[in-house]
Symmetry: C2
Subunit: 212 residues, 2 copies
Amino acid sequence: MFSTIIDPKNSGFPPHFAPPALKLPSGRIISQTPAILNHVAPKFGLAGEKEGEDEEEARSTVNQLVLTALDLNNETHDTHHPIDVGDYYANQKEAAIAKTKAYRASRLPKFLGYFEKVLESNPEAKTNGGTYLVGSTTTTADLVLFQVLDGVSFAFPRRIAALKKSGKYDKVFALKERVGGESGIKEYLTSGRRQKYSEGIFRHYEELDGEE
Amino acid sequence: MFSTIIDPKNSGFPPHFAPPALKLPSGRIISQTPAILNHVAPKFGLAGEKEGEDEEEARSTVNQLVLTALDLNNETHDTHHPIDVGDYYANQKEAAIAKTKAYRASRLPKFLGYFEKVLESNPEAKTNGGTYLVGSTTTTADLVLFQVLDGVSFAFPRRIAALKKSGKYDKVFALKERVGGESGIKEYLTSGRRQKYSEGIFRHYEELDGEE
């Protein structure tokens, strides 16, 4: 387990602000989720399938979409800790209820609408089924959006059911199904190796959920 | 001016969630500050001075530090909009006062302490004056930390004065002086071309500032 500020004596330079962190084969440790994903994406064929001069640009586009999906992740976290990340939920419940109302009504639909537009406007959407954010191969952007949607569905099942029913975000929900059914990911999800949601970023509090 | 979701018909694929965005020579537009910085850093010699196999790793380390400085940026923004980014400050002032109290007491010192540790533990600190986050050349991480410190100093002058006086973050404040005095940056800062702080991320509300 990482301490919040990892001791540089044990982890090399620089120290790290918070988990997660990844140790590279060289011994160097990289923290910050988007930095880790951007570093490993090309090594696993998850940075868009372009080659040559276009490779770096496709990688940055994937990075851009990862960062936006993680912005939704962070806003979702903040719904239950709007005042002080170092204090208990119970001590900021009133503010959490107010923040979550705005999140459910405005922020969440705005993010889903944005990703629906990305999926719709992918030039390859007509031939790939419309569930790939970039090109026609799985990228880290697809994986992060899948994970965030899964977490939001755990935290706000009533709101997500209503948004699904609206029919406005069909491609976004189809992406979630497609990624969750991919070979390897499907087996992982049902393996028991995946940590259950509990007191982390995605929390289910009945009083924070609602159809609207 | 960008609309919030840039129309893909006018900006190519994909659309963008929010400004800023940068148009590349190829015509492709990249949004999300960390994605833009990570894309351009190597082209301007701002990604650490390593070469060969170590180049990508140094770039990712710089990216990691940029992301952490931007986390402080985002938490600073949220002090005046803790409940609803779509509503006025006046309508969430009480929650803002509560959030800012925790920000001033815990979050801000935690970030400054982290960057002080990074500066201290840079293996080249003994020979470069100790004001470079990575190696001995200016990186995007230095530039972002400078900008965030500058904004926080505008928003919370009393708190920053007290933190400066504590002597615990001398290297961090020395970095701010060093970057602000660099050739090119110095001229820009005094040129009148730089936008003044007003109703953006960094806002000064007397009731949100304090020595502690």
